[in-house]
């Protein structure tokens, strides 16, 4: 005896929300609405509504598990309240000890889009080989095809967005808005102004 109507009366959105919880707790990377909808075998709009419910339940201050929208998808993370406890148990292998050179290289790739090592060397004025290799090893950048001249190009990864807490690359401030005098110029100008005429 089939009673298909019963499913609808039993608040199916709640069941969908539980399914999404299950998917998010075992996923190894943020899941997009489309991926969640495909796995849950449900409609994207309903998934979004259910994610709204979960965002309410899993938020800072209310839960140790926090739902965040990051790297183009949704993922669970630890609440900030528990960061000391997490710090005692877990390393931060990805971002620990990122050098200034590594950050500049990441900035070049994140802002300018896929770049080759010669591109990066040209912009930064120093060879980029070892820095690029280090960033690939950390999983913050990955190969993205070759340019015409044959050099491998690199792009930032979803892990990069995750580590820097970005919903997407478009969340980065526009490069045109940057460009205040940098340290080097400031120092040179300071030197010039202090030098007795």
């Amino acid at each position: 005896m089939d009673r298909p109507l019963r499913l609808i009366t039993a608040n199916p959105l709640d069941r969908l929300a539980r399914t999404l919880e299950a998917l998010l707790v075992v996923a190894s990377a943020p899941l997009s609405v489309a991926e969640l909808a495909a796995a849950a075998d449900d409609h994207a709009e309903r998934v979004e509504t259910a994610l709204g419910l979960l965002g309410e339940r899993f938020r800072e201050g209310r839960s140790g598990i926090v739902l965040e929208h990051v790297a183009g998808g949704y993922a669970f993370r630890a609440s900030r309240e528990a960061s000391d406890a997490c710090g005692r148990l877990f390393e931060r292998p990805v971002e620990r000890g990122l050098s200034a050179a590594a950050l500049e290289t990441l900035a070049v790739i994140a802002y300018l889009g896929p770049c080759s090592r010669p591109d990066i060397a040209r912009l930064r004025g120093v060879a980029a080989d070892s820095v690029v290799a280090g960033l690939v090893e950390r999983g913050l950048i990955a190969e993205a095809g070759r340019e015409e001249a044959g050099a491998v190009r690199y792009r930032t990864t979803a892990l990069f967005e995750r580590v820097f807490g970005l919903e997407s690359l478009s969340e980065l401030p526009r490069l045109d808005d940057l460009g205040e005098p940098d340290d080097l110029r400031t120092r040179l100008e300071a030197v010039a102004s202090h030098r007795p005429a």
């Binding site: 993370r77 630890a78 900030r80 710090g87 990122l98 060397a121």
Partner: protein
């Protein structure tokens, strides 16, 4: 102020400017890793600490840094020798543009660093969950004939291993020494390539060794008009008597 004694504290190098130059010229320090701008700033800071302006030091420094920069550019972009030469104004414009670009990148890096600092208390899992479901690997329908083919490969006798290379015979160098000396007793000079005609590669190689030996003993002189042109072998006593001009083949 002695420019060469300027103390530097860079990412890639720490010590006097003099030592940096030495290491670079000896290829013991990759110039590509050296931030030349930092050297300039260090020099300017040192200069500012003194008065009056040390023009001599400025001149020396400019020459050294210009050379260093040229070396570095050649090292970083070896294939761009043919780029159009820029006039001084264009070069200045290009430089200003690059500097502005770099300044923006530095600023962006700073923002990234700040962002990272702000994310210090966000922890998430890297990699799979501890009790992640084990994904099932699925295989498309296979053809049993592939099994037969695989087995046939295993059941096929491998081709006999060729031992031909073990049979290389090296004639003694002395054999060619005698031969060349005999030729040179009859003729004052000869064409090495013509003399080698019809010999195997191994014999040619040994003959060449013999030739080098004769040259070392100063019994012959060798001349070649161009790479891969025939090698002319002349008796030394002949060469002393008459100026011999190599003729291109």
């Amino acid at each position: 102020m002695i420019v060469r004694e300027l103390e530097l504290d860079l990412d890639a190098f720490e010590g006097p400017f003099d030592l940096l130059l030495t290491l670079v010229l000896r290829d013991e320090l990759a110039l590509a890793e050296v931030d030349v701008a930092e050297i300039v700033v260090s020099f300017c800071e040192r200069l500012a600490a003194r008065s009056p302006l040390d023009l001599e030091a400025c001149g020396e420094f400019l020459v050294l840094v210009a050379a260093l920069l040229e070396l570095k550019v050649r090292g970083l972009f070896p294939d761009e020798d043919d780029e159009i030469e820029l006039g001084p104004e264009e070069a200045a414009k290009e430089l200003a543009q690059r500097l502005a670009e770099y300044r923006r990148i530095k600023e962006a890096a700073l923002r990234l660093a700040e962002r990272l600092e702000g994310e210090q208390d966000r922890y998430f899992r890297l990699g799979p969950a501890p009790l992640q479901p084990r994904p099932e690997r699925r295989l498309a329908q296979q053809d049993p004939a592939d099994l037969v083919a695989a087995l046939r490969v295993l059941a096929t006798e491998p081709p006999p291993v060729s031992l031909a290379h073990m049979e290389l015979r090296f004639p003694p160098v002395s054999q060619f020494l005698e031969r060349f000396r005999a030729v040179l007793r009859r003729r004052s000079r000869f064409d090495f390539d013509a003399e080698m005609h019809g010999l195997s590669r191994v014999e040619q190689a040994v003959a060449f060794l013999a030739l080098l030996e004769l040259a070392r003993e100063r019994e012959v002189s060798l001349a070649q008009a161009a790479p891969f042109a025939p090698i002319r072998v002349s008796r030394i006593d002949v060469e002393r008597r008459q100026e011999w001009t190599a003729r291109s083949a």
